[in-house]
Symmetry: C2
Subunit: 342 residues, 2 copies
């Protein structure tokens, strides 16, 4: 399967019908991104999209797709319904007319469309979803956060290679340490999966294996890439989002309870806001799906224009930095060290 | 194996030699608890303990134990070294001279001592460690948070029964909902373990099964008992602690960066402190080990006097409320519904 090349000029294909607030928030986000210099292509019902675009007096390329996979439908529908917006958007990328795929719609359908229409990179059994977790210093690359609820050690090994390339390309780490999420630092600690994965990662060329890390290490930033199975990663990610929300809500409640608190809260607001923004998932907009043949990004169903704008900018950056090409080369290296089973 | 009865008069047995700051912080915490009305027995090197007690001019019962299991030793050592402080403390409980066991020392050794010397409750394959997670409203009972890295569905079922009794006895919930940690609300979502456990919990008498919950639900408090395997639970707990630390440290950094922030931070401090205290694990001091024949509590190795005091008070409360007796009765009920396999 080909690795699609991306240039600065190719637009990012946005599934403009996916997400709770589609198409309006999708169009608004796309217009903002376009005005900030990101080339965008809208995929969906052309009549509705042209109508929505009229408000902004902006001309964006629109590719018609009369169908849409609803949030309550099964992901595999995407294989059959070739005119669904997510399928058409993926085809635009597969055919080389767009550089990257972005959808705030049905996550499973987006994953399936990316897998079946963009293909898997050689040496990858299953793609993984990445999250950027805001740490004390910079961001931590955490994967998988939900594509694979049950993993085998070889899958975690592939995640480690992909995460390592990702941190180099996206965050500019020269030689990022890769940690294995566990419940103790010693190699003997963890569940069966982790104990079997540890020696595999220790002997994987091309990555710098740090050893086991624990839940609290996610936020120190000392280990910039952390791999885990998609069940644990998804629980971690949602927990992290929920905790930040709970803490800020509790602080608001406490501050409002006294005059001193209200005054202090007003003065402290810019600083607290800066911290809240840092941990806001809308700041990067959507999560990359690694291991497929072109950059693909999956956002929250509830995404608004701000998240859409961020996701499109991020997708464009990633495409222009040849993330997928570099990942394919690294995985190819693994395979030749590895007798190239496939 | 007998279920030990506890009365208001029986002391809590504290492994006074366990923990990074033993015995000084142990003795200080014990003295504080004693002064607040909690009967305490110190177990460890009697000479050192009497010496440490002299500072406070308080007489506490001391039971001599000349040996101690170091943090870097193997947990199974506790089976052989019968004069180690944790073993002697567990024996004091097993023989009915103390109501509950508390140790800030080697977690594995504490678990092993509790299991081998206090026995397992009928119907329990493996004990589980409980954490109280501070939620928007009240606390959530989360288990297992680390005793069992790999679980089978029947174990999660036992955790659900124990967690339900725990929330009734400790938090006064009349009929607490029990959630199964997963990565989607639908019964079909999750890893193999969760998908196999879901129907089992749905058909377990005596608990109110809510269905699946997700990471963010840990902090809403809407589902007061959440069960998961010990790997996921341990990652969650450490992540939650790490995130709170990271957020408060980031806020401190941001507030210090401007005059407005420094003033706001000073005014807001009591409110922010109240939130920080709420999420501080020292507020309940130690984690209960459920499924053994008497109340047993395992604390952080780094615990200071405040955590020790909290743990002793909490252990005493739990013992006087007959937690273990009620749990044994509930598990017995499960077994008779269940044809009583053991």
């Amino acid at each position: 399967m080909p690795i699609y090349s991306a240039t600065m000029d190719l637009p990012v294909a946005l599934d403009a019908m996916g997400g709770d607030r589609a198409p309006d928030a999708m169009v608004e986000g796309a217009v903002r991104a376009y005005r900030a210099g990101v080339p965008v292509m809208l995929v969906g019902d052309e009549e509705r999209l042209h109508m929505a675009l009229r408000t902004y007096e902006v001309e964006l390329p629109v590719v018609h797709a009369p169908d849409v996979i609803g949030m309550d439908e099964r992901a595999v529908e995407v294989r059959r319904r070739k005119r669904a917006s997510i399928a058409v958007a993926a085809d635009e990328v597969a055919s080389g007319r767009a550089s990257a795929l972005v959808s705030m719609g049905h996550s499973g359908a987006t994953m399936a469309a990316a897998l079946f229409r963009l293909g898997r990179l050689k040496g990858v059994e299953r793609p993984a979803i990445v999250a950027h977790v805001p740490a004390r210093t910079g961001f931590v690359t955490l994967l998988d956060v939900g594509a694979n609820a049950d993993c085998r050690p070889a899958m975690l090994q592939q995640f480690a290679v992909m995460g390592s390339v990702y941190a180099r390309v996206v965050f500019g780490h020269a030689d990022p340490a890769v940690g294995l999420m566990s419940i103790g630092e010693e190699a003997s600690k963890g569940n069966e999966l982790v104990r079997a994965t540890h020696p595999l990662l220790a002997s994987t060329p091309g990555i710098r294996f740090h050893g086991n890390v624990e839940g609290n290490d996610l936020f120190s930033g000392a280990v910039p890439v952390i791999v885990t199975d998609g069940f644990t990663g998804n629980v971690m990610l949602k927990l992290a989002e929920g905790e930040a929300k709970m803490l800020f809500a509790s602080m608001r409640d406490e501050l409002r309870a006294s005059l001193r608190g209200r005054l202090g809260g007003w003065l402290a607001r810019p600083a607290l806001r800066a911290v809240a923004d840092k941990v806001d998932p809308a700041s990067y907009g959507a999560q990359p799906l690694l291991g497929v043949g072109a950059p693909a990004f999956i956002g929250h169903g509830s995404s608004g224009a701000r998240a859409v704008h961020s996701a499109l900018r991020f997708a464009h950056d990633t495409a222009t930095r040849s993330l997928v090409r570099r990942m394919a080369a690294e995985l190819e290296g693994q395979r030749s060290d590895d007798d190239g089973d496939d």
